[in-house]
Amino acid sequence: MEEVGSVTVADIPSHQQKVGEVLLEVEDLSVDFKTDAGVVKAVQSVSFTLHAGETLAIIGESGSGKSVTAQAIMGIVPSPPGVVNAHAIRFRGQNLADLTEKDRRKVRGQEIAMIFQDPLTSLNPVYSVGKQIGEMFRVHRGASRKEATEAAIELMEQVRIPEARLRVGDYPHQFSGGMRQRVMIAMALSLDPAVLIADEPTTALDVTVQAQIMELLGSLQEEHNMGLILITHDLGVVASVADTVQLMYAGGVVEKAGADDFYEAHAHPYAEGLMRSIPTLIGEDERLIPIEGAPPSLIRLPPGCPFNPRCPYVTDRCRTEKPLLRSIAGYAGLVACHNAEDVRSAKVGGGGGSGE
C-alpha cells in the first residue's frame, strides 16, 4: 500500500502513449474565497499535467471546484474574495505566477483560451459576431478592419457556421444556442491557442446540438493538436472523447485515471455512486441507487475524507484522516480513498452493478 503524495502525481500510464509536449502543469493548486460566513475552500491541492493533443475531463457536480480550477489557470478568479495559492501553474515551463499582468494577458487568449457554458452572456449583444471574432486579430495581431473580417469569416467556416460570409454581420441574438457556442469556439480558436479550456460547453444545449458541438471540438482539437480541458458534470458527454479523467468532490480530486480505466473500473466510492445514479438508455432498467445525503458545505468540511458522511464504505479512519491520491493494486488510476481496495473487491465480487 504505497502512498503517493498528491503533488508529484501527474502521469498515469494509460495516457502516456499519447505523448505530446507538456503544455500545462498545475501543482498543488488551492483556491479559497473569504466570505463573511467563513472561508470557502473551493479548490484544495489540485495537481495535473496536460499534454498537446490530450483531452482531460474534469468531472464533478456543482460546488466540486471544477470551474474554479479553470478560472485559476486562466487567472480570472475574482480577488477579493478569491485567494489563489499554487506551488506552480506552468505553461510550457513558464510559471504563470511570475508573469506581470500584462504578460499574463498575452498568455490568456493567445496561448490558453476558454469557452464558457452560456454563450449568450459571454457575447456582447451590441456588436456583430464578425466584429467580436475579428477583434481578437485587431487587438492581438494589429490586423486592419478588412483583414479582421476576412479572418472572422474563415474561422466561422472552420467551426462550420453555414453561410459564414452572409452571417458575419449578424448579432448574437440572431443565432441559435448551438450556433452561438460555435461563435464562442471560433473566438477561442482565433489566435490558435495551445490549450483550450471548455467549461460545460454543451450543458446549456439540447442533446442533438450537444452532439454536434462535441464532435466539432474533437475534430478541431485533432487539427490543431491542442491540449483540451473539458469541464463537465456529465459523465456521458465526455465518455467518448476524454483521454484522462479527473473526478472532483468538494474541492479535491478524488480519482484520476485514464478514461478507459475510469469508465470500466473506477475505484472511488463517489465514482461508483455517480455511475449508479445515472439513469441509462441502455441495458436493464434497474432502480437507481442514489448517493445518500448531499455534498458538504465548503466552509465547514467534515474532518477526514470529505465524502465520508455519504460513503457506504466509511470506516473510523475516514472520519479523521484525509486520504491522499494513491495507486492501488490492480488499477491503473489514482484514488483518494482509504478503502479503495475494498471498493474494488466488492465490485468485482458483487458482479457488475446488480442490486440485491
Binding site: D206, T208, H233, I278, L281, I282, L288, A294
Partner: protein, 355 residues
Amino acid sequence: MDRVSSEEGGTVNTVDTGSEALLVVDDLVKWFPLTRGIIFKKHIGDVKAVDGVSFRVKKGETHGLVGESGCGKSTTGRAILRLHEPTSGHVFFEGRDVIAMSKKEMRAVRRDMQIIFQDPYASLNPRMTVRDIITEPLVIHQIGDNKARKDKAKELLEVVGLNPEHANRYPHQFSGGQRQRIGVARALALDPKLIIADEPVSALDVSIQAQLVNLLMDIQQEYGIAFLFIAHDLAVVRHMASHVSVMYLGHIMETGTRDQIYGAPQHPYTQALLSAVPVADRVVERNRERIVLEGDLPSPAEPPSGCVFRTRCWKAEEICAVETPELKDMGGGQMVACHFPETRSVLTVSGASTA
C-alpha cells in the same frame, strides 16, 4: 384502484377503451400572438408553440413528454392546466372538458391536477415556512382545520423524506434537492389524481437527481397517481414512464410504450434524438451510431410547411413539404407522424452488454 404494472410496460395492450383514460388531450393548440407597436398592437403573426397535440394518460400511469427546448412540451403541460389559456382544442379530465369549464369548476378540478416545476428556487415563496407552503393548497380549498393541516404537513414531509421537525423552516434553509421535495409534498397535499411534473429533476446534480427519481416512482406506486412527466432527458424518462410522446416544434412526432419508443423507434426524429443522448460508457459511446442532425430548429413563428421536421430530416421528399403527416397507428399502439416510418434500433450496440 388498480395501477398499471410497470414491469409489463412493453407488452401491455395500449388500445384504450376510453374509460380508463384519466387525461385525454385532443388537438390542443396554443399560439402566442406576435404584435408590433405599443399603442396599436398590430397582430403580425403567432408563435405556434403547441400546434395540434393529442395524447392520453391512463389512471396511475406515467406518461413521458420529451423533446428539446422550444418543442412546446412545457407549454402543453401548462395549457392542460389552463395556466396558459389554450387557443383551441380539448382537454378531457375524467371525461369532462377542462377547457370549457367556468373558473369555479376549474378550481375544483385543480384539486385533482397538480404541477411540480423545474426550478426549486423560484417556485417556493421565500417568505413562507415550509409548513405554510405545503398546506397552502389545503387553505385555498378550505380543507381541514389548523390542527389537521399541521398533521398533514408533518405526514407529507415524512412521505417526501424530509424531517417533519423542519416544518417551521424557510426554503432558503434547504438545498436544491430538498426544495424539490417540498414542491413534491405541496403537489401531494390535495391527494391529486394527476401530477404534471415539468422537468422536476433537471436542475439537480445527478446524485441528488437519482434520489428524486426514486421518490417520484415510490410515490406513484404508493398512491397510484398518474404523472405527465415533462423532460428533455430521455434517460430519466425511460426510468419513469411507461408511455412516451416525443415532441418537435409543437407537434407530436411519435408516441408509444416505453419499449416501443426506446427499442423500436420509427420516426426519424426519435431516432436522431435517441442516438444523440450521451451514455456514460466508453465502449457504447465509441461504437454507437450517431445521427447528427444538420441545421437548427426552425422558428415556431414560421414553421416549415407539411412536416415540421422535414428541414432537418435525411428522408424528406417532396410529399413532406406538401402534406402534414398525421399520427398513424403502426400497430401495438405505437403512433408515428411520418410519411416514411421505418423501425431503426439506434441503441443496440455490438459488444455493449454490461450496465
